[in-house]
Amino acid sequence: MTLQKGSTLNLTLGGEQLSAFFPLLQEGVTVPARVGSTLADFLGEQLLLDTDYISSRISTIFMNNRPVDDIKTVLLHEGSVVALSGAMPGLVGATMRSGGYYAALRGGITYTDSDIDTAIRDGIIKLKVYNLLLPELTAPVLKRGVVFCPDDLLAFFRGQDQEFWNGCTDVLLNQSEIDPAELRSDELFNRLSTVTIQVKFR
């Protein structure tokens, strides 16, 4: 079997395999998003995160390397880079907090959106997740789906140890069951453009 453009790969993994994805999320993963919608909409309506969770846990947010103060006013654009972090130590950590008391100390780099194109459409953004949020957001991000180029996905699978594969069950490619061992083979990945991986953790 070969992958076609726009293929979808569904995995079921043990909860202990969650951390295998942490490095990917730190580096940033490509995720589908409704561009033109607000960051608040992305977190609440698309990632399905609770409002209280967003306000209490996601205290540091960046858009294209710029700290964000109000997620309700920031619009996603095609290719935007969004980074999410918990509360950070240090004065500079506090300075980066969304709407924090010390935001003035980094006023020159605070994100401001001058784009008035509000047409909402399907697109992709790059999402990074850091520190305390990794154990909490990896599952919802992967459940919704992450878009990979096949080389990166193959490299990721080949980098996993036996424990990962022991916990890997129910592999579906475009709704058809395949052997998990195929996920480490060139043959599966050598003719494709992109693949969306969705993971359910037991």
């Binding site: 490095p23 846990r57 918990g86 130590p89 950590g93 506090a94």
Partner: protein, 579 residues
């Protein structure tokens, strides 16, 4: 803490110890004690390595008590690195032990003739000063091992390595942690060189027979301490982030903000940051049988330190701090945590400030001594040059400014001779105000105590207005000076910022301990008193407002990704000390 010991190392016939009541220094502690004493007693024009300078060692106001987080020790003097007054503080066991023995301060004065090297033993029986030339040029780890064989494990050690003996301007004073490793350092400003100039190699603090300092109102103190600890534990920074990842959790975030100075401040992002991150570090530490959660002194509930093992699972060093990982990592273009950890060990062992050493090596890379990214080269510079005291090693060990001058580097990131820490002041302009104006030379911790919204030490500031930067920095510096005097770890500031009840518990601890009625205003006044004394000393040492500036390249060279320069005006910065 009812007495002060003065040790005149230059007395005729050998060192002489005298004791006196705390007198005019009563009610102070930590930085308040060291700075007010230095400002009053040391001629600001004295040479920092001369007989006129003094080295004041002071535990904080609550050190030695049962209070949580009270283990910071302050060391003060005129700095050989900056020429300003200096307070450098560290964790470890020394503050708790010294306070329990009963000293508000130990003051090293004078300078001995000859080449003899001394150790000082402080206990309930008194203070002994002994010649011990067998310790000459020993570095901290073997030095402490040798001392432990004689004085055992129920003491705390303060030591200098070979850098301090050689009076290198970036030399530190090591304080042992609960496992008696010399991992906690009064790092900044060359305080180790001042100790070396007085020929004191080690101070052994033995509190045998002594008990914790009793509060005036024990029940109130216990209740306040409980609430204070609860506040620390429930806050996401002090209760989760720092215990899980340590301060290096900042690497990813500061890099994301474009404020991570890379390759001697040429860029604000580092492509290898994720490999150096606190998340990667914690995972590696746990995988190798170390730990990412460890306290630097007994009574610490935040536990932001850790144990970093080598590839074979053997202890290599304590968990390097964010600023250390940056200085030896991104600043030098190095993305290998094992290299950074080895450099951290070498700094601790030789006895050097990790920030000034890392920045000096980066400046040397800029000069072409070795290439950016050359981890093995950086280790070789430390082992073959600095540790052996070669001419190149000595100039590196004197910090970034001297390294830059000797090697002809134009862009040297220092203020008043002290290397900038790990936050670029162009994208994060507010930190630049603190770097430029602090009494200590570039210092991120000088404006760290993020409780000013509660203290309202300078009135209310609109957090989203750029114009508030100087005012915010002023408030931060005042609050920090006060907290540095209590013996409390600055990391309590996060819980205090967000939780007024935790700030109240902090005040209640002080009041229950001393029987005082301190308020937020009292804390502000203490901070102002300390800063005023420091500022006065610096003025008499010849420092003016024109020294309160960043190096010129921060005003002229934009940095990616934000392509900003530092733009807070001189006139604004000159308002910082107007109160």
């Amino acid at each position: 803490m009812e007495k002060i010991a003065r040790i005149d190392m230059g007395a005729q016939g050998g060192p002489r110890v005298t004791f006196e009541p705390v007198g005019e220094y009563a009610g102070l502690g930590g930085r308040a004690t060291t700075s007010i004493m230095i400002a009053k007693e040391v001629n600001p024009l004295a040479h920092a390595l001369g007989a006129e300078n003094k080295l004041v060692i002071a535990p904080g106001m609550l050190s030695g008590s049962a209070g949580a987080m009270t283990g910071r020790l302050s060391v003060g003097c005129k700095s050989p690195l900056t020429g300003t007054i200096k307070e450098s503080n560290a964790g470890g066991q020394a503050a708790q032990v010294l306070a329990r023995i009963g000293y508000a301060a130990i003051v090293l004065e004078g300078k001995p003739e000859g080449d003899d090297l001394y150790k000082i033993i402080v206990s309930a029986e008194g203070i002994k000063v002994e010649v011990d030339n067998s310790l000459k040029l020993m570095d901290n780890y073997p030095l402490v091992e040798k001392l432990r064989a004689q004085y055992g494990d129920k003491v705390a050690y303060m030591t200098i390595g070979s850098a301090g003996e050689r009076m290198l301007y970036a030399a530190s004073i090591a304080c042992t942690d609960p496992e008696l490793r010399p991992t906690r350092h009064c790092g900044r400003g060359g305080v180790g060189a001042v100790m070396g100039s007085k020929k004191v190699k080690a101070i052994i603090l033995d509190d045998a027979g002594m008990k914790m300092r009793p509060p005036k109102y024990p029940d109130k103190f216990r209740d306040a301490n409980r609430k204070f600890v609860e506040g620390l534990r429930k806050h996401p920074v002090t209760g989760e982030g720092l215990p899980a990842y340590g301060t290096n959790v900042l690497t990813n975030v500061i890099n994301e903000a474009g404020g991570y100075p890379t390759r001697n401040f040429r860029s604000g992002t580092f492509e290898g940051a994720a490999k150096l991150s606190g998340e990667a570090q914690a995972e590696l530490e746990i995988k190798r049988g170390g730990t990412a959660t460890h306290g630097c002194h007994r009574g610490c509930v935040i536990q932001c330190s850790g144990i970093y093992n080598d590839k074979n699972g053997n202890y290599l060093t304590k968990q390097p701090e964010y600023e250390t990982v940056w200085a030896h990592g991104g600043h030098c273009g190095i993305d290998d945590l094992d290299v950074v950890a080895e450099l951290d060990f070498l700094d601790d062992n030789i006895g050097l400030d990790t920030i000034d050493m890392g920045v000096a090596i980066g400046v040397a890379m800029d000069a072409g001594i070795i290439k950016f990214g050359d981890g093995e080269g950086a280790i070789r510079l430390m082992k073959e040059e600095v540790a052996k005291g070669t001419p190149l090693g000595r100039l590196l060990g004197c910090g970034a400014e001297i390294t830059g001058k000797v090697l002809g580097v134009e862009k040297v990131p220092v203020v008043k001779g002290q290397a900038l820490p790990a936050y670029d002041p162009r994208p994060i302009q507010g930190i630049g105000v603190t770097y430029a104006t602090t009494t200590m030379g570039a210092d991120h911790t000088a404006g760290y105590a993020i409780a000013t919204n509660i203290l309202k030490s300078g009135g209310d500031v609109d957090p989203l207005k750029v114009e508030g930067q100087v005012e915010l920095s002023r408030n931060l510096q005042i609050a920090t000076a006060a907290i540095d005097s209590t013996g409390m770890c600055l990391f309590i500031a996060f819980a205090i910022l967000d939780q007024p009840e935790t700030f109240q518990a902090f005040l209640d601890m002080l009041n229950a301990f001393y029987g005082t009625e301190l308020t937020g205003d009292s804390v502000v006044e203490l901070g102002k008193k300390v800063l005023s004394a420091e500022r006065d000393f610096n003025a008499r040492a010849g420092f003016t407002k024109y020294h309160d500036r960043l190096p010129r390249f921060f005003y002229t060279d934009p940095i990616a990704p934000h392509n900003q320069v530092f733009s807070v005006s001189d006139e604004e910065m000159d308002q910082l000390y107007n109160w």
